[in-house]
């Protein structure tokens, strides 16, 4: 097909003005208005830049810590300052650097790599970035006002409870991080839908660039892992603010619940960070060896297996908590299991190197450095998975060494490899090879000198999170060496910055281009609109297998060489075979994502500062901004568009064909995971303190859930009826609107009836754990009800505004998904709260 040069979808020459129109449509706003830009490249630059900023800030904190520990009994930092600094170092590195930088690389690279013009939800991407930017900066600045949290990045209660951490620091952590997690989930939705639905035609799953695979699994893991920690932060914040005793043992709570929830997120988190980095390596190694990845399928299997196995590891952070030995050994076994996929990947890379000829340039050096460091980190990982060995080294510097080997080796080195490798695709100049080698050797030597001795200091008994140690311990030489190494590492990073300043000139339009002779689509000539035309992909390395591809794409021979509807647009394809389905029209620049992010950030931060009224105002404004931006999305159907090659694509899709439906499904998976985490917490706390569960006689009457259940089911039925009666014209609207409002009312009535029944039975959240858990069920129900309510109101408003009918129905479809999910979750909640205590009694 590719050889059939006469058989291109579109003929040359292209009409005059086609390219100019494309450029106008996709233009990035000039000067300070650039903050309204939603182009994935602009947002990608901002995103990567901000993540790097946090990497530097957290790195400075690390240097401060290393200076404090360089000599015994040092007084460079005070105890409280040190405690704040190590808490912030961990938190910022994990939440403000590692996850965001990977998402940033995804936003920057994926559309180009997949041959799309942009992400499927450009404004959501912009919102995710700005929320992270504003929230992250505010969170970091708490350090300057002595308001920073000091409970460790893992925030174990009861140390972080209001009794032992009375200040605002812990609240900043809980609300700030909860908020940044929301931004991460927004990014994950973007990535999942982007990878599954906006690939170039013909890019089947087995031709997908490995980075896209890893980002898909990365985003999938975020969907299931992050809700656990979001629930945990909600529980702890509710405990701190309203005394709901989730973690207070005296009233039936349990400190270990936090650890379960936190590590159920926290361990997959390690792989969430590592997988995309491994994906980068899987892109760089073949390109630098000039040969396709050996064992492509093995690597995909390894990625999927890692995604699963990593959810069976969380207790390996809790080997010393006094859990029965047999339970521990299950997690020890799963920890072994997760070593296998890593082994597969390492040897697949080695096989690729062997099958080609590795060019030893800076990206390759970073990859080789990664292989060494990550292997060592993986091996110490196997060691700490051995339960008895972990009893000794847990919470010591051995573990500090281990996870820095895994995270810095497994993530930072590939990231630097990626910077050097992809810079020519996004900058007018490549980064300097000479400076790059210096950077690599300084970072590699500095890293090993800093962190290898920590294995030994840990074995010699040095615990983590100590701000000082006495001279008699014999840890002083090792710590001094570590400090020197840290300074060397920092020098390497500093050199990299100099390289960036000297050589990085961001631009996609005039980028240096494919200097490595790589084979994937991001190396096509690109501009603000992505590739000039969307290619047909016939292999995993199209640029190698279709040598003329770059020229043909640039000439406009492939699909959609201009704009079909006069707006920004990209082709939506089917998830497995990537066959074209419809033409998605995308929104352009706007203020709403930025303002929504600022107000969302203000909402959370003001809530922390207990300025409730102002916070609520900002919250309402944030929702309003989102509604304003949603008002213009879902444009009315346009006539079908010919994209070339005799293919005419519709411009509107509803139901499961719509990309928006997919996003809603992913969002509901997040909500579902959150609720499952809650159900787990409920059952878990019952196993810990069943004595706090009341006798059936003391519960709300068995008949009390009947009314709310009836209302919920009735609401669902009414909404289905409303959907049947979606208006064809102005006459039908009234009925639809009334039914939708009725359905919304039913949802609220169900909530009120359940809450009042519980209240009348004398249940109070602060009494004991049972009360708190029942209240929590209502809280989560209220949360979903509120969301459904806003969306129902929005649907009614669109109907009144003539923007919703039986054809243009995406908003209603999404409302339906959300509504029926809410009903399902609420029914499950009723069953749990009313049924379980009777069952257990």
């Amino acid at each position: 097909m590719a050889d059939a040069t006469s058989n291109y979808p579109n003929k040359l020459p292209r009409p005059r003005g086609e390219l100019a129109e494309l450029e106008t449509i996709w233009a990035v706003p000039k000067s300070w208005r650039i903050v309204t830009s939603v182009n994935n490249t602009t947002i990608g630059y901002f995103y990567v830049g901000t993540a790097l900023l946090f990497f530097l800030l957290a790195g400075i904190l690390a240097l401060l810590m290393r200076l404090q520990l360089a000599v015994p009994s040092n007084t460079f930092l005070s105890q409280e300052t040190y405690n704040q600094i190590f808490t912030m170092h961990g938190t910022v590195m994990m939440f403000l650097f590692a996850v965001p930088v990977v998402e940033a690389m995804g936003i920057l690279l994926l559309p180009q790599m997949l041959g799309a013009r942009d992400q499927p939800f450009p404004r959501l991407g912009a919102f995710a970035f700005w929320a992270y930017f504003v929230g992250g900066l505010i969170f970091f600045s708490t350090l300057f006002f002595d308001l920073a949290p000091s409970g460790g990045w893992f925030m174990y209660p009861p140390l972080t409870s209001s009794q032992f951490s009375p200040g605002m620091g812990a609240d900043f952590w809980l609300l700030g991080i909860g908020f940044i997690e929301i931004s991460a989930i927004a990014g994950a939705i973007e990535i999942i839908v982007g990878v599954l639905r906006t690939r170039a035609p013909g890019m089947t799953l087995d031709r997908m660039p490995m980075f896209a695979w890893t980002m898909l699994i990365f985003a999938g893991m975020i969907v299931f892992a992050f809700p656990a920690v979001i629930l945990a932060t909600m529980l702890l914040e509710l405990e701190r603010a309203f005394d709901w005793p989730f973690f207070i043992a005296a009233r039936g709570g349990d400190a270990l619940l936090w650890q379960h929830l936190f590590w159920f997120f926290g361990h997959p988190e390690v792989y969430i960070i590592f997988l995309p980095a491994a994906g980068m390596v899987s892109m760089i190694v073949p390109a630098m060896s000039g040969t396709p990845l050996v064992g492509y399928r093995f690597v995909v299997v390894a990625l999927i297996a890692t995604g699963f196995f990593s959810f069976g590891l969380w207790v390996h952070h809790m080997f010393t908590t006094g859990i029965p030995a047999l339970s521990l050994s299950f997690f020890s076994a799963a920890s072994m299991a997760v070593a296998l996929p890593s082994g597969i990947q390492v040897f697949a890379w080695i096989a690729t190197i062997a099958s080609g000829r590795l060019r030893l340039v800076t990206p390759s050096l970073f990859v080789l450095g990664f292989l060494f460091i990550f292997t060592l980190g993986g091996l110490t990982g196997v060691m700490v998975a051995m339960v008895p060995f972990d009893w000794q080294v847990h919470d010591t510097y051995f573990v500090v060494a281990h996870f820095h080997y895994v995270l810095v080796g497994g993530m930072v080195f590939p990231l630097f490899a990626a910077f050097y490798y992809w810079a020519p695709a996004f900058s007018r100049r490549a980064l300097s090879e000479r400076l790059g080698r210096w950077t690599f050797w300084l970072m590699f030597a500095g890293f090993n000198i800093a962190f290898f001795p920590m294995h030994i200091s840990g074995l010699m008994g040095m615990p983590r999170r100590v701000y000082t140690y006495p001279a008699v311990m014999g840890w002083d030489i090792l710590n001094l060496i570590s400090t020197i190494g840290a300074v060397l590492f920092a020098a390497g990073v500093g050199l990299f910055l100099i390289d960036l300043i000297r050589n990085l000139r961001p631009s996609v339009a005039n980028a240096a281009g494919n200097i490595w002779k790589a084979g994937t689509l991001e190396w096509l000539p690109n501009d603000v609109y992505g590739p000039r035309s969307i290619p047909i992909v016939t292999s995993a390395d199209p640029l190698w297998d279709q040598p003329r591809l770059a020229d043909d794409v640039e000439a406009g021979r492939y699909y959609l060489p201009g704009s079909g509807t006069g707006r920004r647009e990209t082709i939506v394809t089917s998830p497995i075979e990537a066959s074209s389905q419809y033409l998605l029209r995308l929104p352009g620049p706007g203020w709403t994502p930025l303002l929504a992010a600022i107000f969302t950030a203000a909402f959370f931060m003001l809530l922390t500062a207990k300025a409730i009224t102002l916070a609520l105002i900002c919250g309402v404004l944030a929702v309003a901004m989102i509604l304003v931006w949603m008002w213009d999305s879902d444009p009315a159907p346009h006539r079908a568009v010919d994209i070339g090659g005799g293919i005419t694509l519709p411009t509107y899709a509803s139901g499961s064909l719509s990309h928006s439906w997919w996003a809603m499904i992913v969002l509901l998976l997040v909500a579902g995971s959150l609720y499952l985490a809650y159900v787990f917490s409920y059952l878990y706390l019952w196993t810990v303190s069943p004595q706090f569960w009341p006798k059936p006689a003391a519960l709300a009457p068995a008949a009390s859930p009947v009314l709310p259940a009836f209302l919920l089911v009735a609401g669902s039925a009414i909404l289905v009826a409303a959907g049947r009666g979606l208006p064809r014209n102005a006459q039908g609207r009234r009925n639809f609107e009334i039914l939708t409002v009725l359905a919304a009312v039913a949802l609220v009535a169900a909530l009120i009836s359940e809450v009042s029944a519980q209240w009348q039975s004398g249940l109070r959240p602060e009494t004991n754990i049972h009360g708190a858990l029942v209240a929590m069920a209502a809280f989560l129900q209220a949360q979903m009800t509120l969301a459904a309510l806003v969306m129902a109101g929005f649907a009614v408003a669109r109907s009144i505004g003539g923007r919703l009918d039986c054809e243009r129905r995406v908003v209603f479809d999404n409302l339906g998904l959300l509504y029926h999910y809410t009903v399902g979750q609420s029914l499950l909640g009723l069953l749990l709260v009313h049924g379980f205590p009777r069952l257990a009694a």
Partner: protein, 337 residues
């Protein structure tokens, strides 16, 4: 290319391990049955790690610089299966089996009745130690634990406020102390000596300074010591110590501290009945001397920032002198009977 530095690092590490290995609190200087077993496991794991690391480095080296035949072998999917799946599957099965077997031996299923029971409660930021006296009466102490050599000791571990972790590396692994839960840990010291321990779970504030010492002594000495420790405090013999005692009571020390045999019965802070016999003050931050005692009373927030004892700067030097004399006199004498 990378082989030289990496091997160098490993070598340097081993040298460091061997040479400057201070055994104050070291995993690799075991003094008990449990810690020795884990030390064996550690060396086994280091050996395993060295082998695997060497294989990976060699494979990378060969992939870049090897002969075409070797590179051809390495470039096959079968190489990925053999080295990436089969080899780890076998070795990790063996390791997992050994680890589980070791856990079983740690469970000490044949827990004997003659074991010594000691309760340790982690508090911010000190250790409340309660021995079980000869007739089962609890004997309160703090921040220093004495155990008999060669006998299994069962530690009952609790937390009073936040999570702490009880860890004596030279005797065995650590166990967390979690509010609302009770954990147990069995340790057996093999030779007499002083083993340092430290809180291993971050517990806020001066967590870094929450250390303690375990003094392992011959069983007979231990029995005699416990017998003496059961007795109330000696009445002060000297005039200055008597003045110290009345100052101790008037200053309100008894609101937080207990000295058995006096009206001081506070339970918020460490029991001081036999403080004069302990080796350190301020939870192992300073050796117990008259000067350090006075410093801790008047300047405790500098020695151990954030600790819960207020600074008693109201006391004048002569009063402090008397108070220190009294506290130092609080020790069990060797007079039997």
């Amino acid at each position: 290319m990378r082989r030289a530095p990496s091997l160098g690092v490993v070598l340097a590490g081993s040298v460091l391990l061997g040479s400057c290995g201070s055994d104050v609190q070291s995993v690799l200087a075991p003094g008990g049955i449990q810690s020795r077993q884990i030390a064996y496991l550690a060396w086994l794991l280091f050996g395993f790690g060295a082998v695997v690391l060497t294989i990976v480095i060699a494979a990378v080296w060969l992939a870049i610089r090897g002969s075409p035949r070797i590179r051809g072998l390495l470039a096959q999917e079968n190489a990925v299966i053999a080295l990436g799946i089969a080899f780890p599957a076998v070795t990790l099965t063996l390791l997992l089996g050994y680890g589980v077997w070791l856990m079983r031996s740690h469970l000490d299923l044949s827990h004997t009745r003659d074991a010594v029971d000691i309760e340790v409660v982690g508090e911010q930021w000190w250790w409340r130690v309660t021995y079980s006296g000869a007739d089962g009466t609890p004997v309160a102490s703090a921040n220093e634990i004495r155990i008999p050599v060669g006998m299994p000791v069962t530690f009952t571990l609790k937390a009073a406020d936040v999570i702490h972790s009880f860890w004596v590396p030279s005797l065995g692994g650590k166990v967390d102390m979690i509010p609302g839960r009770t954990a147990r840990l069995r340790l057996t010291a093999e030779r007499p000596g002083i083993y340092r321990g430290q809180c291993a779970e971050y517990c806020g504030g001066p967590h870094a300074l929450m250390a303690f010492e375990v003094v392992a002594m011959p069983a007979a000495d231990y029995a005699a010591w416990l017998q003496r420790a059961t007795r109330p405090a000696t009445t002060p013999a000297s005039e200055i110590a008597r003045r110290g005692q009345s100052l101790f009571l008037a200053t309100g020390c008894g609101a937080c501290h207990t000295v058995r045999g006096t009206s001081a019965a506070g339970t918020l802070g460490p029991d001081l009945t036999h403080i004069g016999a302990r080796r350190s003050i301020g939870i192992d931050t300073l050796p117990l001397t008259r000067e350090n005692l006075v410093r801790f009373i008047t300047d405790g927030q500098h020695i151990k920032p954030g600790n819960l004892m207020p600074e008693f700067r109201v006391l004048q030097p002569p009063e402090l002198e008397a108070l220190a004399s009294y506290l130092l006199s609080l020790k069990v004498t060797d007079r039997h009977g």
